[in-house]
């Protein structure tokens, strides 16, 4: 895995930090919004209070002011201005809309008779000025500034509405306060972030410490220290996990011990089986030897001639004893190779042609009997190979036995040997071609399976237990060679064995093969044995 590893602690810390930061930001925003609204409301209330405060003295003095209302209030308005910092301007407007007094900043202008007093033309404002109830509104100044406007009527003790006070109040102060609280929130956030980093890492470590301990324990068990146990006292799922893991490790240990024991038992059993096979083979072979020996002496006339009928019977006995011997040997070989198949067979330099000669020789009487022609064709000189002579003899014996068994009377078996390189490796190719019944295409691979017989009824017709070819494959593969079958159904089969020329560690150049006596003949090196 090329993925970058992230520690669990970092992951948990990130989650905690994310949650903390999110809630911090949210609460800061909520606080700022609420504060903004309350500050704004305070300002507006203060503006209304202020407006009525300004109107108060005017009501008492209104009778003296007269409808022209000039000059008297300017000092008072100037003083009153100081009481509210948000006030932009104050105007006193008569009910017809004519501005009587206007105060902007620190300057106060009183419009007397004959002066070109401004006239209010805004319809909303005119209506508010004409009304007898105080009114408020948020309006936009021509400069674009948003302002709070309070219109308060000045009504005398007789209920006569003389003027209205129009006060415009700025939100600048409110905005300033809002800015300040925003800045403060940001500052707290930044400090909070630093704190969050530290707090979240600490919190996360509290959780991951146990997970880390669990991981270390598991790793030790994984490294093969099966007796290790994980100790976590977190009283939570991690402790449960650790306990579950310990139980698992216990079971694993128990299973492994059980397996070891079972394996030991199997080994003992295997040894017992091998001993049994050795004993059985001894017990079978000794009587077979006596039978075979006497039968051969009898039929060869060494014990005096037998009557024809008796001789024929003895010949049949002899043939069957030989078959029985082969089957016994097959069984012994199989049990042996089953045990040592995986091992590298002990090798020595072997003259393959001499082995083939030897094996073919043992078939003499059988060939004679069924009138089968067995030829060994050697196309070229065959070099010495590193082989296990006993096993290789078994390979060719079984293959020839098979070929002869399936070749009808009067047929022929041809053994061909030639040098052949496969997969960049020198070697020898031996093919055994019979003129027998052949093998169906689908069976070509399966013939090498143990106990496999192409045709179950062939067991009766041809004998054998289906072990021979399985043994052949085992041995050839142990020699790192290969074996396969080719066939045309009805016109015989070819079994091909390829054996590599394995170089032993300190291999000297191969000496000329003693098989040179079998001169390199092109095509027909006829070596029919005891035909």
């Amino acid at each position: 895995m090329s993925k970058k590893r992230i520690s669990l602690q970092t992951r948990i810390a990130r989650h905690i930090a994310f949650a903390v930061v999110l809630s911090l930001v949210a609460s800061a925003l909520v606080l700022v919004v609420f504060r903004h609204r309350s500050v704004q409301r305070n300002m507006e209330r203060a503006a209304q209070t202020y407006a009525s405060l300004v109107c108060e003295p005017m009501v008492t003095k209104i009778s003296f002011l007269g409808s022209s209302g000039n000059g008297i209030l300017d000092q008072e308005v100037a003083q009153l201005r100081e009481l509210n910092a948000d006030v932009n301007r104050l105007d006193i407007v008569d009910v017809r809309g004519n501005v009587v007094l206007s105060s902007e900043g620190h300057s106060v202008v009183v419009y007397g008779d004959g002066m070109n007093a401004p006239v209010i033309e805004d319809r909303d404002l005119s209506r508010a000025i004409a009304g007898l109830e105080p009114s408020t509104a948020v309006v936009k100044e021509p400069s674009g500034e948003r302002v709070y406007r309070v219109v308060a009527p000045v009504v005398d003790q007789w209920g006569v509405h003389h003027f209205s006070l129009v006060g415009t109040f700025s939100y600048a102060g409110v905005n300033r306060q809002l800015r300040n609280s925003l800045w403060l929130s940001a500052l707290i956030l930044v400090m909070g972030l630093g704190l969050t980093q530290w707090v979240s890492m600490t919190l996360a470590r509290g959780i991951t410490r146990d997970v880390e301990r669990l991981r270390e324990g598991v790793q030790r068990i994984q490294e093969g220290h099966l007796e290790e146990r994980v100790t976590v006292n977190s009283r939570d799922e991690i402790e449960e996990l650790a306990e579950a893991f310990n139980v698992m490790a216990d079971e694993l240990l128990a299973t492994i011990q059980w397996l070891r024991e079972a394996n030991r038992e199997l080994e003992t059993l295997d040894q017992t089986k091998a001993d049994l096979v050795a004993n059985v083979s001894h017990e079978l072979k000794t009587p077979l030897t006596a039978l075979r020996g006497y039968l051969e002496l009898m039929t060869d006339g060494e014990l005096g001639g037998l009557p024809d009928e008796a001789n024929r019977a003895a010949m049949i006995c002899r043939k069957n004893v030989q078959r029985l011997s082969l089957r016994v040997e097959e069984l012994v070989q199989l049990s042996r190779f089953e045990r040592f198949m995986t091992l590298d067979p002990a090798r020595e330099e072997v003259d393959l042609l001499a082995v083939l000669d030897g094996v073919i020789e043992t078939f003499g009487p059988r060939l004679e009997e069924s009138n089968i022609d067995l030829d060994l064709m050697v196309k070229e000189r065959i070099e010495l190979l590193q082989l296990n002579p006993e096993q290789i003899e078994r390979v060719f014996f079984n293959l020839l036995d098979n070929a002869v068994k399936f070749t009808p009377e009067g047929g022929s078996v041809v053994v061909t040997a030639e040098s052949n390189a496969r997969d960049d490796s020198d070697g020898v190719l031996v093919s055994i071609e019979d003129s027998g019944v052949g093998i169906p295409r689908l069976e070509l691979v399966r013939v090498f399976d143990r106990f496999h017989q192409v045709d179950p009824s062939s067991r009766r017709r041809f004998g054998g237990m289906g072990l021979g070819l399985s043994l052949v494959r085992s041995i050839v593969e142990a020699h790192r060679g290969s074996v396969w079958a080719e066939s045309t159904e009805g016109s015989g089969s070819v079994f091909v064995v390829w054996l590599p020329r394995l170089e032993s560690g300190s291999e000297q150049p191969l000496q000329p093969s003693p098989s040179d006596k079998l001169k390199t003949e092109n095509g027909s090196g006829n070596q029919s044995e005891e035909g």
Binding site: A278, S281, H282, L284, K285, T286, P287, L288, T289, A290, L291, R292, G293, Y294, E296, L297, D300, E302, L303, V321, S325, E329, V332, Q333, R336, A346, N388, P389, E390
Partner: protein, 128 residues
């Protein structure tokens, strides 16, 4: 005529071996017990010994070891007859001092061939 000593615990095997060898003109002595056979062989060494490996009491391997330790028995050619056909078994027997090895079940012809070969090689006569 060469004298061959046959040792096997199976009377039938002894009989067969003796029959084969006698038919081929050898002089044959037999014994079915390893100990008495050893004593007889050391008293009057034969020209060749046919020895079975698996025998009760004193088995062929032990007998061969003792025979080879004695000056009289050290040079007698020994042909081992055994049911064990394993390469390792053969090699072990040869290392103990046997001269040749023949596996059961064998053909009488093969036995006679091996006996002749062994006698020929110790006599120094080349044989075909």
């Amino acid at each position: 005529m060469a004298r061959v000593f046959v040792i096997d615990d199976e009377p039938d095997m002894v009989d067969l071996l003796a029959t084969i060898l006698k038919a081929d003109g050898f002089e044959v002595e037999t014994d079915t017990d390893g100990r008495s056979a050893l004593a007889r062989m050391l008293a009057d060494p034969p020209d060749l010994v046919l020895l079975d490996l698996m025998m009760p009491d004193l088995d062929g391997m032990e007998l061969l070891k003792i025979l080879r330790l004695d000056t009289k028995g050290a040079d007698i050619p020994v042909l081992v007859v055994s049911a064990r056909s394993g390469h390792q078994d053969q090699l072990g027997t040869l290392q103990l001092g046997a001269n040749a090895y023949i596996c059961k079940p064998f053909s009488p012809r093969e036995l006679v061939r091996q006996v002749r070969q062994l006698l020929g090689s110790t006599d120094g006569e080349p044989r075909g």
